[in-house]
Amino acid sequence: MIETYLPLIFMLVFAFAVAFIFMILSEWIGAKRTTPEKVTTYESGMVPRGTARERFSVKFYLVAMSFIVFDIEVIFMYPWAVSFNETGLAGLIGMIIFVIILLAGLIYEIRKGGLKWD
């Protein structure tokens, strides 16, 4: 069983190792000449203004909430797709009903402006 996940484990170990080694290397070998510009908060080249502890707009939250529902919908589609050969047409019809019901939700969301930013 563990063999199935061996590539995954290797990838995880490798990713951690690479990140860790690069951090340590840059700490050890890298030159340290600090200028005021270098030590300010990195804001993609902009001059930072205000605090980072600002309140987020509630809109992010609303979008995330809708996202979760559709996320769950997608998770249900995955096993259906994998077992498509076995379930065939009946499975397809079952899935279509599932999607149609949720499609009504998406239409509702769009019409009510749930996905509009302003």
């Binding site: 076995e86 379930t87 065939g88 009946a90 499975g91 019901i101 009504a104 239409i107």
Partner: protein, 502 residues
Amino acid sequence: MIDEIFLSQLKQSVDLFLPETILVATFIIALIFDLIYKNSRYLIAVISIIGLVFSGIFLVNQSTSSAAIFSGMLSFDPFGNFFKILILLTTIIIVLMSVFSKELYEGGRKTGEYYILIVGMTFGMFLLAVANNLIIVYLAIETMSISSYILAGYTKEIKRASEASLKYVIFGAVSSGMMIYGISLIYGLTGSLTFDAINSAMISSDISGLTLLIAGLMIIAGIGYKISAVPFHFWTPDVYEGAPITITAYLSVASKAAGFAVLIRFLKVSFFDSTNYANDEIWTLIGTIDWQIVIAILSVLTMTLGNLVALWQTNMKRLLAYSSIAHAGYILMGVVVMTDIGVTSVLIYFFVYMIMNLGAFLVVMIIANKTGNEDIQKYNGIGHKAPFVSACMVIFLISLTGLPPTAGFIGKWAVFTAVLKSEYIWLAVVGVLNSVVSLYYYVKIFRNMYIRNFEDDSEIYEFSPGTYILLIILAVPTLIFGIYFTPLLDWAESSVKIFLGV
């Protein structure tokens, strides 16, 4: 996996599932109409009523046979049908009530989603009435709960409604978490989630008693939350007070009915010997746990606390909330008996409770439409300002107390005879004492309406004809079933058959 046999079974299942399918179709059609006709006031209510009535027609015409449908996930039987009809009647009355609710339409509020969610909630409760698998029970409870959380907070600008909704969500999350934990323990013990498979696992193998007790208690806690049995009732007063009156009435009847349906089915099918078909009237417990005692304790706690706390209430919705807790206790008495007679009494009581409780809430709504709140003080002199409404209220109150010649008496009589026939005499005594206590707070309303502070500016309240018709629809059966109750008895007796699986 998918072969001819499966497909033919599926077709049969879909045929028997027609009432529920109509509900889902109504739900989606109403949703789309709500998007198209944004400014109509009653359109969605009308669509919902049409859908509900259609669903009801198919429900009533369905055969009275029993079958396992959708691979044993649902049981189709007269017992489930009874509860479905009861829930459907409640829903129709609630939708009609909502049309007259001032609170709901205040400030030009859009009510499309309100009716849509009521249809969705009905769908969840229908499933709960027939669920034969714990996963379906869980899904159905969630479908019902999520709709009811939103409905309880539908008037979200009103602070107490939002508060009610939030409290409901938090308590609901805890109880459904407990329930799903119990379900997982049951699965670990028996290796199955279908009620009849749990039953055969319990007969054939040795089940650890303590774990089963804890798992069962956790599931009962989840259901007990829905029927607001003490000690899972904490949300009830606040939610009932904060929610719109129509929703309060709905929660107090329909979601309780669904909860009782699944409680009885789960106990009967899972924990009683199904091999003993010969005599259906006697249920034999399997396993070492005496579930009767567990339910009896719940019942005593529920009715005693409900009645005692109701004595001090000054808000009508809160008072009726505690009164509904107490009634859940009486109904649990019928569950304790755990024979066919007990189930019959539960069915009779529930039908009667539906009529009288909806009636009482309808009066509260009508009065609140005029006075703006549900304070008991506002009922002073109502007897003179609105004579007909008050007379109806008196009928409902007498019925809620359980005195003849009203339907409430028949319900109480059925439950008490069932309890007396079993060995739980002490339970019947507690029940009678509780009924006496309940008389006090019901009389308090009566006293306020007719005797207290008769102000001489005898302004007469005018009500719309629709509310009068609704009142008559509810008040007349309350009286008739108190005198001529044979059809109700027959219907209940023919509906006790619970499908025990293949």
